[in-house]
Symmetry: none
Subunit: 194 residues, 4 copies
Amino acid sequence: MPRTEKQFQEMRERSRQNILNSALKVFAAKGYQETSISDIAIEASISKGLLYNYFSSKEDLTRSVMEMLLIELENMTRNVESEKDPYKKLRKLIEEAFDAMETNSDYWRLYSSFILQPETAKLISPEFISSLERIFNSMEKIFSEIGVKNAKEEAKIFGAILDGIAFHVMLEGESYPRNKMKKYLIKKYSKKNL
Amino acid sequence: MPRTEKQFQEMRERSRQNILNSALKVFAAKGYQETSISDIAIEASISKGLLYNYFSSKEDLTRSVMEMLLIELENMTRNVESEKDPYKKLRKLIEEAFDAMETNSDYWRLYSSFILQPETAKLISPEFISSLERIFNSMEKIFSEIGVKNAKEEAKIFGAILDGIAFHVMLEGESYPRNKMKKYLIKKYSKKNL
Amino acid sequence: MPRTEKQFQEMRERSRQNILNSALKVFAAKGYQETSISDIAIEASISKGLLYNYFSSKEDLTRSVMEMLLIELENMTRNVESEKDPYKKLRKLIEEAFDAMETNSDYWRLYSSFILQPETAKLISPEFISSLERIFNSMEKIFSEIGVKNAKEEAKIFGAILDGIAFHVMLEGESYPRNKMKKYLIKKYSKKNL
Amino acid sequence: MPRTEKQFQEMRERSRQNILNSALKVFAAKGYQETSISDIAIEASISKGLLYNYFSSKEDLTRSVMEMLLIELENMTRNVESEKDPYKKLRKLIEEAFDAMETNSDYWRLYSSFILQPETAKLISPEFISSLERIFNSMEKIFSEIGVKNAKEEAKIFGAILDGIAFHVMLEGESYPRNKMKKYLIKKYSKKNL
DNA sequence: CATGAATGAGCATTCATTCAT
DNA sequence: AATGAATGAATGCTCATTCAT
């Protein structure tokens, strides 16, 4: 009995996801430039040829990996929406950001380096920027709800603080006082101080 | 008759600077990995072989380029020391940072990507981190002079804001409201508001 | 439909042998240092890239070529073992050595130069020395069987004569009186004269 | 007062010898292929340019170095001529050969590898072969004086033994029983045994 | 005579991509 | 769909040789 069209599509999708996850894993571990198509095929336990059946080039694969990361980033901010209290939203944002630095530092590093390298930057910018705008907008709304003046600017500063700290953490590693800064930020952006 | 020792040294120094500047230019335009030694030699209008007369490897050249950038960065913060008034110091820091984003955005991008890519990061980290620490320390002193509580944390936040904004500017380019943010930050960190 | 595992293995083995034989040929004709990977690839009618699919480096390829030669050398002495009479063994050794000088002189030259050049010597020495020892041991046994006093030293001298002549043949080429020397040696090491 | 033509010639000759000795030293230490013109110029404490004032190419320099070695080799055998007794001549030849293996092993190795590598071999063969013939002839004369039958063949065998042992010593290094073999050969080629 | 900066062809090696099966 | 052998262009680097001074 031949497989149905649907089964077939599911198989393809699973295979595609397998490749994407493998690529992300190897990219994060070795860096983008140091990762060869071969490395990814091995990690995914498939042949190089098959990989080209799913992605037309290394560039195409890279673009898709970056889209994955983008979606994850958006999910992170979406989680925050479940909170009602805007102060709690801010607190959750801070906590999520610090958590990500801790547990997914390789991905953050990959993410940032994708953005900063001309070759990979050109693969994502448009989507990324609109995604970033959505995130800033939702932050701005939070500050508005709280009643902060200049909510737009404060949202941008808030975002810059989180990204700037992430950058410093990537740079200094363990020696950066992550915990102290997290607590300090939570206090600074609490009801009492805004 | 052979050239004098001094003549040779001058030739070497000129040639070395020519190569360093060319490398910086091409690295900034294309990114580190996409730049070949050939590209740099062409930009410098010399042969590949000659480049190796001055730098023993691509890594050596890269390290030297990064040292140039580091010195420039330190100069930037040193300028600030000429001010007496701590509020003016903060203002000058902000202005210098925004100026750098504007005029040297390629170099900033290169600089950040150097730090984020495993392969290039290892070439500079130690010096960079100690340089960063000096900068943070001088920021902390400024906040102390002003009398801000938690000067250490506030200095880190101040630095994170500047680097975070630089990151967002690299990302969004012209669409980022640099001027508005600069003014807002200057006001936020003025005597009236601290 | 993909090729079967077995088909791939056969392809690989054929290709590997092709490369090894081509390498031996070019090494023998031009010498190790003067032979480029390109030369070998051209001789083997494949791309340079493919060569690296089979051998991880020029060094690796060279090592494999030397192993081939070593095996051939051992086979030569092993043939001798089939004889029962120790005098006939000596005679056969002499004959085989002179045959090798004649038919495989390039390989002998390559072999010797491999051993004498620091860079290639390090690739084979251990195996070669133990192989040489085995050969000397079996020669010593022959002389012992014959009842020669100082069998060990006489074996070493016998080996030195063969290698020394080979060296002179490489040097003088056709002008060296190989045939006369072969006959003379056979007589010298015959039952009548020992 | 300008230098006389003669003084001038002497200076050039001294300079030339300096380069030749430096080249020999570096060739012997690092191997021919691994030695660059730069290495030799540094060893000779002169500039690369000046070296080309004395030798037109690396090949030319190499040829001259090999001629030096050849002359040294001939001197070695000429020393032997001072002895009257042919048995003592043989003994002295053996002793000189073993001494050379011990004290000048690097030069021997270089010498042999020169002969065995196609590229360098072509630079010397004709002179070398006639030199070798002279040496064989003088050996033949010694055996004739002693009254050995087949003096020509025995001379060739004697020479082959010495070269063959030198080859094995280069190969096995310290583990080769040089002293035992030297003594054994001296005895074997003494009045009592010939 | 003497210097060493400069050249350029050549080398070993890598890797994204193609393709016969 | 699936394989991995095969390609070829590109890369970092070396070095004999030349030449302006």
